[in-house]
């Protein structure tokens, strides 16, 4: 049986490639090897057929790389004359030796090793943790199809540009027909609802959507179908789509759920489909948003659109702002506003600025850590200079020494990287514990340390290793004989100039961080201890929404509200109950519009942003809000009704100062410039300010003008406020029971104390203050270690000099002062640089501060003074230790 003709060619080429694993020398020496392999293959084929050839190939595939690589890395001894250049094999085996030596050398200096590894672990850990957060939030890719063309269509007030609320369904439908920038425009509106199921009732969010919405998001039903246009017709039966999680939890994944009826917001719905979790809407039920009838005029829904391919966001915006117009009776005219869906978090300036400033902080910490490590390595290298000189003298090349330092750096970086990952895990867990609230919270839940983050950490470690490895390694220069001489006489002559430069650099970076941290902290404290202005810990509140299916008219609604209030006041511990709209601090509503002040000489204020609350009689006493002048609302203010020529109003001090700077606000008249509401309001009282959440959204203005009007409007959506007796714990279960007695369909989950709402409102600033505070502490610690290291090293080098000075009569105090002064010089330079940089960078965090300038002198002075004290200590301690030497001992040594 003759082998195929191609066999020898294939065999010899394959073998040639495999042989690359062997040192080139071996290949040259045995150039016949591919031929031998080819011949052997032919022989095998003759004896054992194809199977034997395959066995031979497998053997070669296993053996050649294995033995070849072993020869490369651990070559047999004594093969080569000494004067030829080193082969790769020797280079690698030398590297292995370097690593072994570096490892032993690190083990022998545990203090330095731990300091460096811990420094790196802190820097790398903080970086990895923050990168994980950024990765899960800022960098998260949108899960939607064609996300790059996807936009959210909301509206903003023409007057102020504020808003970001939804247009009416009727407007959306009109715009969809009129505007040609959208390939597709769907709508969705959230609605609170209660689902009655087998085991009881449960509050679930209901999402009313246009029939095509889910399909456009790429959702495919697990079971049944999605919504169809027919479902939206007025005579169609109401249908609902269940999310998978609810289907599993409430119906134990029963497939018979399809076609079954469930009660939702007091109305029967037929389940037609089950869908998998939709990101951000995991627990939501989906029903059809009515697109016809009178309801479309009042119901508001957010538009979710896809731009036509080729239409730019700017072009679409321009069209939407001109053509999509509408008006709200209270807020005034508005126009459409488009926001890209690329990444939900990028839309929030506040969040973005916060996270980016944290990223900058983290980068600074890592840089400080690297500088610090370079510093530690530098002092260490100085100490080992003698050893290196000896190695150089007996023939080690400079490259070899650099390689050794790099090996040491690499080991430290690996240690630091490993521990850094542990630190990162801890940091992420801590951040999840602090719970910053809002959208950041949902993003944080998704934060996991994944492979990419790990790769990032390793890249940072490697970069760090090279960075700090090279600084000291490249410093080793000059004639070996000089170095050897110095080593022999025990005089390390490493200059401290580079050390000083490093200290100045890390000081300036640490100062930037510390000032940032101090500003954030001061800001948080300012918010934290602001008097809420009312009895926050004695007021509970709960939203009451009466479904129109069950309470069809104003009479039944009012009757229910009265009964409910009465029932609640009977609960033990409750002192009184009141209704209000936008009346629960800190969540007052803001409004904008034109205002006319003064009946005799009207003055107009075109774009006025105020907080507006509708309250009942006796509200200020009920809430414990102080009245600076005038009176509370009384029943008579409500009796007049809508036809009365004027209406009573209470305003805050800030509003009085803004519109009546002369101080004659009490008794003055003002009105809104609106078609439907031009009644005059007479100021009957001036109230002290209360805390409110809009400080986050309104550029930090804490004391917005605030206007209180008598509560007369729509009774379907109310806040029920419950005032407790002094020192009573909130009787939440009893209040829930009272609700359940009257109507088990009313949800009571969000019953909350105002104090808790206030605390929740401070989550953002607190989170940032805590994070920056942690960074600041890490930074100042690292900087102190760096200063300490450089001064201690410098002092140790100059011990002999100091001994001579003292032997010649210098007083220890003078020498101490000399050392401290020299140690502090780079620190002072760093302080100046850092202060300048902070002033320049102030704008970055300005938007995160409330009622505070990013260049607040007091904060700067306090931070710089604090840093200086730490720096003096870090200099003084090693300096003092250095001069406490035995003069004779030092002079005699060597």
């Amino acid at each position: 049986m003759n082998p195929p003709r191609f066999l020898p060619h294939v065999a010899s080429i394959t073998y040639r490639v495999l042989l690359l694993a062997y040192p080139a020398e071996f290949r040259r020496e045995f150039a016949e090897l591919p031929g031998v392999f080819a011949a052997a293959c032919q022989e095998s084929y003759r004896l054992g057929g194809l199977g034997a050839v395959v066995r031979r190939f497998i053997r070669a595939l296993v053996d050649v790389p294995r033995h070849g690589l072993r020869d490369r890395f651990a070559p047999p001894q004594g093969r080569r004359p000494d004067d030829s250049p080193p082969t790769w094999a020797e280079w690698f085996s030398g590297l292995a030796a370097d690593f072994r030596y570096a490892y032993r050398s690190l083990i022998s200096r545990p203090g330095l090793t731990v300091a460096v590894a811990a420094t790196l672990a802190l820097g790398i850990g903080a970086n990895t943790a923050i990168f994980s957060v950024v990765d899960a939030t800022l960098l998260a890719r949108s899960p939607w199809p064609d996300a790059e063309r996807m936009v959210d269509l909301t509206v903003k007030l023409e007057a102020t540009g504020g808003g970001g609320f939804a247009p009416t369904v009727e407007e959306l439908i009109r715009w969809r027909d009129e505007l040609d920038v959208f390939e597709r425009l769907e709508a969705r509106a959230g609605a609170p609802s209660v689902l009655i199921h087998v085991d009881g009732s449960r509050r679930v969010p209901l999402e009313l959507v246009t029939p095509g919405y889910l399909g456009a998001l790429g959702v495919r039903p697990i079971m049944g179908r999605l919504l169809s246009p027919e479902d939206g017709e007025s005579d169609a039966a109401a249908v609902v789509i269940l999310p998978e999680s609810l289907w599993r939890q409430l119906y134990r994944a029963d497939p018979a759920i399809l076609g079954r009826e469930v009660e939702l917001a007091g109305k029967p719905y037929i389940v037609v489909g089950v869908v998998p979790a939709v990101r951000g809407m995991e627990q939501k039920l989906f029903a059809v948003l009515p697109s016809a009838g009178p309801e479309t005029l009042t119901r508001r829904a957010a538009g979710v659109g896809w731009l036509r391919p080729g239409v730019s966001l700017e072009a679409a915006r321009a069209q939407v702002e001109v053509m999509a117009q509408g008006e709200d009776e209270r807020l005034g005219p508005y126009v459409g506003s488009l926001a890209p869906r690329r990444n939900v978090f990028w839309q929030q300036d506040d969040f973005r600025t916060g996270l980016l400033s944290i990223l900058v902080a983290v980068f600074l910490v890592l840089t400080i850590a690297c500088v610090n490590v370079a510093n530690l390595m530098l002092t260490n290298l100085g100490r080992r200079r003698g050893e290196f000189a000896v190695r150089a003298a007996i023939g080690a090349s400079r490259g070899r020494l650099v390689r050794f330092v790099l090996a040491e750096s690499a080991i430290l970086a690996i240690l630091g990287g490993g521990f850094g990952l542990l630190v990162a895990r801890g940091a992420i867990a801590a951040m999840q514990l602090i719970r910053p609230g809002g959208n950041l919270a949902t993003g944080l839940d998704a934060v996991r340390l994944d492979a990419r983050v790990m790769a990032y950490a390793i890249a940072v470690s490697a970069l760090t290793a090279v960075l700090f490895g090279l600084v000291p390694a490249l410093r080793r220069s000059g004639q070996p004989s000089e170095a050897l001489q110095a080593a022999a006489f025990g005089r390390g002559t490493v200059s401290t100039r580079l050390g000083g430069a490093l200290v100045a650099a890390e000081t300036s970076l640490a100062v930037i961080l510390l000032i940032g941290a101090a500003l954030m902290f001061q800001n948080f404290l300012g918010l934290r201890f602001t008097d809420p202005g009312f009895d926050a810990d004695r007021v509970l509140s709960i939203g009451v929404g009466l479904p129109s299916t069950k309470y069809p008219d104003r009479e039944t609604q009012m009757a229910m509200l009265d009964t409910l209030a009465l029932e609640i006041t009977r609960v033990p511990g409750v002192e009184a109950a009141q209704y209000g709209q936008g009346a629960v601090p800190p969540q007052n509503m803001a409004m904008a519009g034109e205002m006319v002040v003064g009946e005799a000489e009207p003055r107009s204020f075109p774009e006025t942003v105020t907080l507006l609350s509708h309250v009942q009689a006796g509200y200020f006493e009920f809430m414990g809000i102080a009245l600076v002048a005038g009176r509370d609302f009384v029943e008579a203010d409500y009796a007049a009704g809508d036809d009365a020529p004027e209406r009573a109003a209470v305003i805050t001090v800030a509003m009085a100062e803004k519109f009546w700077p002369g101080g004659d606000a009490l008794g003055a008249m003002f009105r809104f410039e609106r078609d439907y509401d031009q009644r005059w309001n007479r100021v009957v009282g001036i109230a002290a300010p209360t805390a409110h959440v809009s400080f986050e959204a309104r550029g930090g203005e804490l004391d917005l003008p605030h206007l209180y009007l008598p509560l007369v409007s729509d009774p379907r959506y109310m806040d029920l406020m419950i005032r407790l007796r002094d020192g009573v714990a909130p009787p939440t279960p009893e209040i829930r029971a009272a609700f359940a007695r009257l109507d088990p369909g009313l949800p009571t989950e969000d019953i909350d104390s105002s104090a808790a709402r206030l605390v929740a409102a401070l989550h953002g600033p607190r989170f940032r203050a805590a994070l920056f505070g942690a960074f600041g502490i890490v930074a100042i610690t690292l900087a102190a270690v760096g200063i300490f290291g450089v001064v201690a090293h410098g002092a140790a080098q100059r011990q002999r000099e100091m001994a001579i000075r003292m032997a010649l009569g210098a007083r220890p105090r003078g020498v101490l002062r000399l050392v401290v002064r020299q140690g502090l010089t780079p620190v002072l330079i760093g302080l100046m640089l850092g202060t300048g940089a902070s002033l320049a960078l102030g704008r970055l965090i300005a938007s995160l501060l409330h009622q505070m300038s990013p260049t607040e002198p007091a904060v700067y002075l306090a931070t710089l003074a604090g840093f200086f004290v730490v720096a003096v200590l870090a200099t003084w301690i090693p300096a003092r230790r250095a001069i406490r030497l035995d003069v004779m001992e030092n002079l005699r040594s060597d």
Binding site: L18, F26, R28, F30, A31, E32, A52, A60, H67
Partner: protein
């Protein structure tokens, strides 16, 4: 054989089985690489041997002066390998050791009596 060669020999014994087979193949006269490969594979009962690995062994045996190379080095020309005196002695010594081991095994009835001595 010189005293130095005898001392070297002692450090090399006992031979590894593969080295023994290589020396054994060369006992019949000089061979080129492929010839040794064939012979060793046959002697060891059809085990497939990687040529490069064989050449590593040859190189080592050459370094230990058990075999010598003849014919042109490099350039793809075939090289022949042959036993040196030391190699011949080593082969003999190893063969004797193996016979003694085999006898000892027979004495303990570890070998099927039908296998001829």
């Amino acid at each position: 054989m010189s005293e130095a060669e005898r001392q070297l020999l002692e450090t090399l014994l006992p031979l590894q089985p593969r080295d023994y087979l290589i020396l054994f193949a060369l006992a019949g006269g000089p061979l080129h690489g492929h010839g040794i490969l064939k012979a060793v594979e046959e002697e060891s009962g059809g085990v497939t041997l990687d040529p490069a690995n064989l050449y590593r062994s040859l190189k080592r045996l050459e370094r230990d002066t058990l075999i010598a190379r003849s014919g042109g080095q490099g350039g793809g020309r075939r090289q022949n390998f042959e036993l040196t005196d030391v190699g011949g002695e080593a082969l003999k010594a190893e063969a004797q050791r193996l016979v003694l081991l085999a006898d000892a095994a027979r004495a303990r009835s570890l070998v099927d009596p039908k296998v001829p001595a």
